[in-house]
Amino acid sequence: MSELRQALRRLGRSPGFALLAVAMLGLGVGTNTAVFSLVNTLLLRGLPVPAPGDLLSLFQSNPKRGVERDVTSVPNFRDWRDQSTCFTHVSAVDPGQATLATPEGPEVLAITGVSASFFDLLGVPPVAGRGFRKGEDEEGAPLTAILSHRFWQSRFGGRPMLGSPITLDGRPFTVIGIAKEGLEVPVATDVYVPAIYPADSQRGALFLPVIARLAKGKTLADARTQLAAIMERIPSEKERGWTASAVPLAEDAVSDQRMSLLLLQGAVLLVLLIVAANLAALLLARAARKTRDGAVRAALGASRMDLAAPLLAEGVVLALGGWLFGLLLGRAFLAVLLVASPAALPAWARPVLDGRVLLVSLGAALGTALLASLVAIGQKVRSVPIEALREGSRATPSRGSRRAQAVFVVLELTLSVALLGLAGLTLRTLSNLATQNLGFESRTLLVANLLLPGAEFETPGARRSAVQALTERLSGLPGVTSVSGTTTLPLGGNYNDTVFGLEDRPDAPATEPNVTGVDQVLPGYFETMGMALREGRDLSPRSAPDPRASEVVVNQAFERRYFPGASALGKRVFFGPRADPRRAATIVGVVSDVKRESLRRSERPQLYFSYLDITPRRMTFVLRTALTPGELSSQVRAAIREVAPAAAITSVTPMDSVLGDNLTLPRFLAGLLTFFAVTALVLAALGLFGVLSTVVAQRTNEIGVRLALGAKPGDVFRLVTGQGLGLAAAGLALGVGLSLGLGRLLGGLLYGVSATDPTNLASVAAVLFTVASLACILPARRAASLDPVAALREE
């Protein structure tokens, strides 16, 4: 204890050193604390429910057809639920949108249809009221709803709601409960409603996500075996080739973030390592100035432990200081992160600095400081006391300690080069994702998402005429050059697949349908989006008189895949659940491909039907504008409210901001990695600056002699800069090697750039040498401007 007090006193006597050390440690610990609290929340703590590891996501797959994973149908869900013994509960989690009737007009909500057992499955009962009861998810039951805590607060101000009626999509529901705060599992939801499906639901209509909780003593493997066995037993011809399996829901819920988080954690560990190296160099320089002290102490009877203890105590004091500062910084980093990209995390994941985070960050601080102290101690204890005593009062650090400092600086430069390399790759990925050809022109596009709820839009005819009236009204807005619409906007976050069959194709018989993307669009959609019509014509502007006369446009990927080398025009497609031959459409056109599901995924086969033939309750209008799209949005809202007051507007937003949402995660990753790489580089530059300054200070005498013997200031300047750039070159060579190795781990996170990209490496080298040169300038200038007479007099 008194050791610590003395250490504190000693550090107080060199406040510059102490502050620098604490600042560096704080930076390292702070970045680690922030990133680790994300890792802790998402990967370690997992979903905010009891025993989150027992929650599974169930799915079906058809390896033969290349379907790795798909949601399921209602009949399959019922079979899994009723025939399995591995689960305590099985529940549908059917996400969707609904409109809430409010005095100000309809409001669009995120709803989740769940089975009656959903809250029992999660193990988190509602905080007010009750969960759904058995039977409430069956046809004919009175309609009940449970509000999410967040929605209850934001929409109803937290006032008592139990027993109150609310109107969703025109139907009356009774509020029976309020879910626990923060329970947005597996996705953010405003309202939970019972998932009610007709008894005669079709097999093969795959739209339903299902989760389950493992029973005590059962394993994931048990569940997989049993699900597969249940699928085997289903007699339906339609399930041939399909099997079922399960993955941990927790894994599923963070699958997008996992790699990025691990990469970031790795990156900040490198930053911490750089801090350790920098601190070690700093401590070595400090210890070097005290070599004689150590020797004197040893001669007076100090044991190795006596010599080491003060350094260790200083290490502990610095670590505690760095820890506290790091926690402050970490909290600030975290706050900035969450403000800067809230959408990068799932809604249920709210990172906090819990006990584990505090412990880990304390460990990081202590580990880093003690590692650095041990290096200094090793140097101190190894130094032979008599030499230091004989060298007299001039404190010349041993060559060994100077070499050790140089090694640490090279290590720091190496690690920063590796981090710069990784950051460069993620930046290039971000730019490739953002600037790639999407197949449509997004810049002057405004999109308006609508739902057509309630009795007013009950019939297809009503929806059709509303959409036609809206199209007309929107086209008349000043600054709008063309208007069309689609049910699934590319990259809008949802998309539909359908099974289909092709006429006269033995390899794709109607009973073994293929899967393709499907979309319902208004006439003029392709032109408004800026897609190219490659063959044939657009969908006709009138609805087909009977289903067999309907038309379909396919994309080039579809034509390439199913009609390689031939034209798809005039061919017939059977579609709908299970490729019903009675419902067919003729291919009338082929359009260019667009990015549809994600910015990374390459274009897949796609069918475009006319919205006028199939009229879902959702519609996204796309408006090509002559003005900045954002400027029009309030006029577009007003126009929609005027023409169709019963329609619910989900959003009116420029297409570019829809694209921006797709870039959230890559931007998050690239932004953070760049920040960490810059931090690392600054630390390494400080280290380089420190070593060169020490060298110049130690060689003052030698430099004086050189100057006295006729060296020009320029020679001395080059001597010092040469040494600095030599270290930088060593760091670059090693760092490039490390960067290539680490780059391989990035794999799936990269897009359009390879880990060995020469441009990236060249930019890293340029940045490194620029920064290294800057770090050299001051010490080199100081050496070059030494007055030889004064330098020689200096002892």
Partner: protein, 223 residues
Amino acid sequence: MADLIKLENVEKRYVNGAVSTWVLRRISLTVEEGEFVTIMGPSGAGKSTLLAILGLLDAEFDGSYTLDGTAIHGLKPKLRGELAKRTIGFVFQQYHLLDDLTVAENLELPLSYRDMKGDERKGLVADTLDRFQIVGKKDLFPRQLSGGQQQLVGVARAVIAKPKLLLADEPTGNLHSEQGAEIMELFKELNRQGTTIIQITHSKENAAYGNRVVRLKDGWIAD
């Protein structure tokens, strides 16, 4: 009187790559308790090297060395450290006071490495300050003292833990003759009180304070 130091055929060389330089050759030397020995010889003769070996600062030598009845060869570093702590005090030519410790703290330093309670330590420091008549200087830092005063503190620090053997490498080398004479008087007094002293000096006057002179030349003891 008992032998405090017994060296037999002690040899020391520095190996530098393929070249090895002999610095001490077949040194055999016995010092009895209570002696005051002076080592003399030209620069580079090996005097400091010999003193470092005697002071157990350097254990890398050939031959045998017995200090206060303990054979040094094969002794574990820890035990060697213990023996040194018990037996030896050092005075340096450059004083080697620690700059950021006060006079009193410098005196306390050797005691802090020995098992001694805080108040006992304080008492001993107070006694020593008294005995060396430097009470008034106890809160000053070394740079605030003259060279002679610094060496006075150096000597006080060397003897505060009551070593049997005081080793001094040119203790007056940085002092002018008047101050040097004071230090020598002090040594004589310490020796009279029972401390065995081995000093290195280039000065005949200083050598005269001792009772025996050992001459070194090129690493050999010259007779």
